[in-house]
């Protein structure tokens, strides 16, 4: 009996230490150096919005106001495009060697202020400081560093053709990785010699405007990069502006489709990085403990606010019980709470709206008959939080198996054969990412060949690298970011 319990990882085993002592608070205390008010960054200067309007950026961890942000209206967006257009000729004509040096400077200055940026990112967005410190900020710097080196090697990008900049690029980014998405968008566009008008997400504008300080310190020529802050209307103005030679959007599939319709009458080039409902497929020969860590990282990284999150776990029937039991145990020791605490695993949900959406979809899962598990955990009284959540007995028709939840909610399905796993994994309109856990290299390659997804992680999940192209199939969008392939999406080939 005891042996059986051990094998199935019984409900209480391996947990004893979890109840023995409380963690002391371990808050990160570095000064984020926030300003009380952030203006628009246009033509190399911070300028008051012509709209005369502002909005508040709120810390989702405790619902306190962090700063007042300028709201860009159409006239402001227009001014940003004018500044970018004015900067384009000298910037694109500058030798790549010199353009690259600016990107190197930006990477270095960001590394210098990494701690400060990590705290600001966590305050504004709610993600655990461990993630902003160890992932978001260093990865953002890495993207600038990587692309800096491309600027003087553009003749190698497209054999037989001359890669030229497009002009002014309009970019709109989401709130889940504010600084990192900004780096993904800016670095390749600038390396290629384009100028940029970028709108951060309305709930997470601060690190973009802090980066504007770095752009000033780096003496980047005025107008090469412009930041206009605001919500959906500002975004539509950025995407729809006639001065844009190309637009790049990262966000929901719904908004992506709306932008595609908005631009239907134009020949504007587009990159769309949209939603996902990734399958994470665990075979019975997988290293199970490693897989459990990977599943946790796949869905609870950044509170599940990840377009490529492994939100559908497909587990091989022979090991299903074992994997689910181990997952439950693992969930019990996940720490949910103050994002600034260095021991926190799950921070705050980015906004009240997003929390509402997660709650609605979770309620639909319960209603439709899936079995919910949430570990006992005390959530802070103020702020937006949601406990890590598992659903078993999920069928493919459940909303929680079809729709992107964008929260810490994992839907678990099982399969018997490789073909069934492939069939289920591909049964979605999305196709951004997928995971495979197995000890067999040949099976990894078979799965990778069959899965309709732009990124396939084998025995790992949520890994990123500036040299590794990222982007989706099907309704997860088109175009790539990262690598030589991503750079090409910012080029006109002559």
């Amino acid at each position: 009996m005891a042996a059986t319990r051990k094998n199935s990882g019984g409900p209480r085993s391996g947990l004893i230490f979890g109840d023995l002592w409380e963690f002391d608070p371990a808050p990160e205390t570095a000064d984020p150096k926030l300003k009380a008010r952030y203006d628009l960054f246009i033509g190399g200067r911070f300028v008051r919005p012509r709209s005369g309007r502002t909005f508040d950026s709120v810390n989702p961890a405790n619902e306190t106001k962090l700063a007042e942000i300028a709201l860009a209206g159409p006239a402001d967006v227009d001014a940003a495009y004018k500044a970018a257009a004015g900067a384009f000729r000298p910037w694109s004509a500058m030798p790549g060697r010199e353009r690259g040096k600016y990107l190197y400077r930006i990477a270095r200055l960001l590394q210098d202020r990494a701690r400060e940026f990590a705290v600001a990112e966590t305050l504004d967005g709610g993600k655990p400081i461990r993630e902003s410190r160890d992932f978001d900020v260093p990865m953002a710097a890495a993207h600038f560093f990587y692309h800096a080196g491309w600027a003087d090697k553009l003749e190698y990008v497209a054999p037989g053709r001359v890669a030229q900049p497009l002009g002014v690029v309009g970019q709109v980014i989401p709130w889940n990785f504010p600084l990192l998405m900004l780096a993904w968008k800016l670095a390749p566009a600038l390396a290629m010699g384009n100028c940029v008008v970028l709108k951060p997400a309305e709930t997470t504008s601060i690190t973009a405007l802090k980066l504007a300080e770095i752009l000033q310190d780096a003496e980047l020529p005025p107008g090469v990069v412009n930041f206009v802050t605001g919500a959906g209307e500002t975004g539509a103005a950025v995407m729809g502006h006639p001065g844009a030679a190309k637009v790049a959007f990262t966000g929901s599939t719904e908004v992506g489709k709306a932008i595609m319709r908005q631009l239907a009458g134009t020949d504007r080039k587009m990159t769309m990085e949209l939603g996902g409902k990734a399958a994470n497929v665990v075979f019975d020969d997988a290293p199970i403990d490693q897989a459990v860590e990977g599943i946790v990282n796949g869905i609870f990284f950044n509170q599940g606010h990840v377009c490529c999150a492994g939100s559908r776990l497909l587990v091989h029937e022979p090991v299903a019980e074992q994997v689910i039991s181990k997952l439950r145990n693992r969930l019990r020791v996940l720490r949910v709470g103050d994002p600034l605490d260095k021991n926190t695993d799950l921070g705050a949900i980015n906004s009240r709206e997003q929390l509402g959406r997660i709650r609605r979809l979770v309620a639909s899962g319960v209603r439709e008959g899936a079995l919910m598990y949430q570990p006992p955990c005390r959530l802070p009284e103020r702020g937006f939080y949601f406990p890590p959540t598992l659903f078993t007995r999920v069928t493919q028709s459940h909303r929680i198996a079809r729709e992107e939840i964008f929260g810490p909610v994992l839907s678990i399905l099982t399969f018997r054969t490789v073909d069934e796993a492939i069939e289920k994994a591909n049964n979605t309109p999305y196709g951004l990412s997928a995971g495979v856990w197995t000890d067999k290299g040949s099976r990894i390659l078979r799965m990778s060949t069959e899965l309709k997804a732009g990124v396939v992680w084998a025995n790992t999940f949520n890994k990123f690298d500036p040299s590794s192209p990222f982007g989706g199939y099907k309704e997860s969008g088109f175009g790539r970011e990262g690598g030589r392939q991503g750079l090409l999406d910012y080029a006109h080939l002559a």
């Binding site: 037989g160 595609m260 239907a264 009458g265 690298d465 990222f470 030589r484 392939q485 080939l493």
Partner: protein, 292 residues
């Protein structure tokens, strides 16, 4: 022994569209009358409906996985074989182009460019991967590589001028990289595309890989735009059709490419190349662990 001099009555051909490897009429039994450049009646051409288009998409989807799994070398040989078929029957194609108003010299030039273009893309079939894919030097213990994959069913809307070279130039890169095709022939000059279908049928190209419809753009463009199983559109189109295609494509995040080439621009070597293939492949990046 003398026979009375009777003029032989030629046997005329009933033009049919090429769907799923078979020659069929429109399911609607509708046709439209096509006259030659001199205004003489030529034939009744199938006026395909959106149901024909859906049937063609089904055929293309069915043929897709098999075609995508053919080795690149095999796809190259099949495209080369198609060029051989066209070269052998180029006289017939030139005659048909001239009959519908092309200048003799242009028709002949277009034909030879078309055959050469097929050979150009036949050669690409087993080479583009090495140029579009990559091994990526990531900062962790992973073998990280990017490979291409065909998008699936691609809808092609061919130009009116040149009707045959335009269609060939759009088809070749799309099938060279493993996609399957549903094409709408020139509305004004559909007959050369019907002849092309007859050559495809004898070229070792599996049935369903290329399906060619004839009919009216205004009837078929909306279905090209919205059919969710058509994963990409490659069109020679005016402003209104472009807008309609983009609007419809948004619903399923379809990839849409337009060609701006017109008239003799299609003859140029710059009308071909790797970009046309790059436009119709997806890129997949795999993180494979190193060590155990």
């Amino acid at each position: 022994m003398s026979t009375p001099a009777v003029n032989r009555i030629p046997v005329t051909k009933t033009p049919k569209v090429y769907i799923g490897g078979a020659f069929v009429r429109s399911e609607s039994a509708r046709t439209f009358k096509v006259s030659d450049a001199a205004g003489a009646f030529f034939a009744n051409i199938p006026q395909c409906t959106r149901k024909d288009l859906r049937n063609a998409v089904e055929a293309a989807a069915k043929a897709g996985p098999g075609w995508a799994k053919r080795s690149p070398y095999n796809r190259a040989q099949i495209l080369y074989r198609l060029a051989e078929m066209l070269e052998a029957r180029s006289g017939e194609l030139v005659t048909s182009l001239v009959r519908f108003g092309a200048r003799e010299a242009d028709a002949a030039r277009g034909m030879s460019v078309g055959v050469d273009r097929l050979i150009h893309y036949a050669g690409w079939a087993d080479k583009y991967e090495q140029l579009l894919g990559s091994v990526n030097p990531v900062a962790s213990a992973h073998f990280n590589f990017t490979v291409t994959e065909p998008m699936g069913v691609v809808g092609i809307i061919a130009p009116d001028s040149p009707p045959l070279l335009g269609l060939l130039s759009m088809l070749a890169p799309v099938i060279a990289c493993g996609n399957t095709v549903v094409a709408l022939a020139s509305e004004k000059t559909p007959y050369p595309a019907i002849l092309l279908g007859e050559m495809l049928a004898t070229s070792d190209l599996p049935g369903g890989v290329v399906n060619i419809l004839t009919g009216f753009r205004r009837e078929l463009v909306p279905t090209f735009a919205t059919h969710a199983h058509i994963r990409a559109i490659y069109a020679s189109a005016g402003a209104d059709d472009r807008k309609a295609l983009r609007l419809g494509a948004a619903a399923s995040v379809k990839r849409v490419r337009f060609t701006d080439l017109a008239g003799r621009e299609w003859f140029s070597d710059s009308a071909q190349g790797l970009e046309a293939i790059r436009d119709f492949v997806e890129l997949k990046t795999t993180w494979h662990p190193i060590g155990s």
